[in-house]
């Protein structure tokens, strides 16, 4: 029988920030909160940059050709989080090199992207996501 749970918030019983979920194979349990993506963004990094869609992102700024920074609405608890980034162009679907800049903080992340030769270059489809602990 199908079941639907209507709630506005979920909390663990033993620890409010820790709800265990059973693995697909049934042999392991894992924290639900730790596996959730805490920040993600899809933005156009060309021309006047613009956010297409996002979660927990307050703003994005153009720091120069191939250099971007996006700010978090709710900060991470530390700068030890795991982030990733990817970039490409709509016209040729060629993925480009995306790296982190030195701005890797609890409130913002720098993304840099370049062409195949390593020169800074704007990309029309940029994406990034973050896993870790919110403050």
């Amino acid at each position: 029988m199908a079941s639907i749970l209507k709630v506005d918030a979920l909390q663990g019983v033993t620890s409010a920030g820790d709800i265990a979920v059973t693995s697909e194979g049934g042999s392991a349990t894992q924290s639900l909160q730790q596996g959730l993506c805490k920040v993600w963004i899809n933005f156009d990094g060309t021309g006047t940059i613009s956010t297409r869609d996002s979660l927990n992102v307050s703003s994005i700024s153009d720091e120069g050709t191939g250099y971007y920074q996006y700010d978090f609405t709710n900060a991470m608890s530390n700068a030890n989080y795991s982030a990733s980034g990817t970039g490409g162009n709509n016209d040729n679907n060629v993925n480009r090199v995306v790296q982190f800049g030195d701005g890797y903080t609890t409130t913002a992340l720098d993304l840099n992207t370049g062409d195949g030769a390593g020169s800074p270059s704007d990309r029309s489809v940029m994406g990034s996501q973050i896993f870790g602990d919110l403050a």
Binding site: K6, V13, S27, S31, D102, F131
Partner: protein, 125 residues
């Protein structure tokens, strides 16, 4: 006391923002790691990672605490531009119990990176 809740769908109290448990479970990362790949190497934070081996220059091997059920999981890898601008997953070397992060410099020589991160989506065993 421990409790277990079995549901198919979660909604907010107004009955909106519905999400099936399939997407909660399948859409969550099953492992991720933030690793300092330069001296002194260290795991900064992680989920479902028991250790990371510094295999060689520009190559790090995260070991999963709980294994994946197959080799068809998704991995994403990124690094810091100052010292290792080219980041890659080495799918040929990954197993159900370990990932594989590779980094190279802009000249495509192997190079360590201070921000080595990798995340994994898929089904655990």
């Amino acid at each position: 006391m421990a409790s277990e809740l079995r549901v198919n769908t979660l909604k907010d109290a107004a009955g909106a923002n519905s999400v099936a448990m399939e997407y909660v479970a399948g859409g969550s990362a099953k492992a991720w790691v933030s690793y300092k790949g330069t001296a002194t190497n260290a795991v900064k934070d992680s989920l479902n990672i028991s250790s990371v081996t510094d295999a060689s220059t520009g190559r790090y091997l995260p070991q999963f605490s709980n294994s994946f059920n197959a080799l068809d999981y998704l991995s994403q890898t990124t690094g810091n531009n100052a010292d290792g601008p080219v980041a890659a997953n080495d799918y040929d070397q990954m197993t159900t119990s370990s990932g594989d992060m590779r980094y190279k410099s802009s000249g495509f020589s192997v190079a360590d990176t201070k921000y080595a991160v990798q995340s994994f989506n898929g089904d655990l065993a």
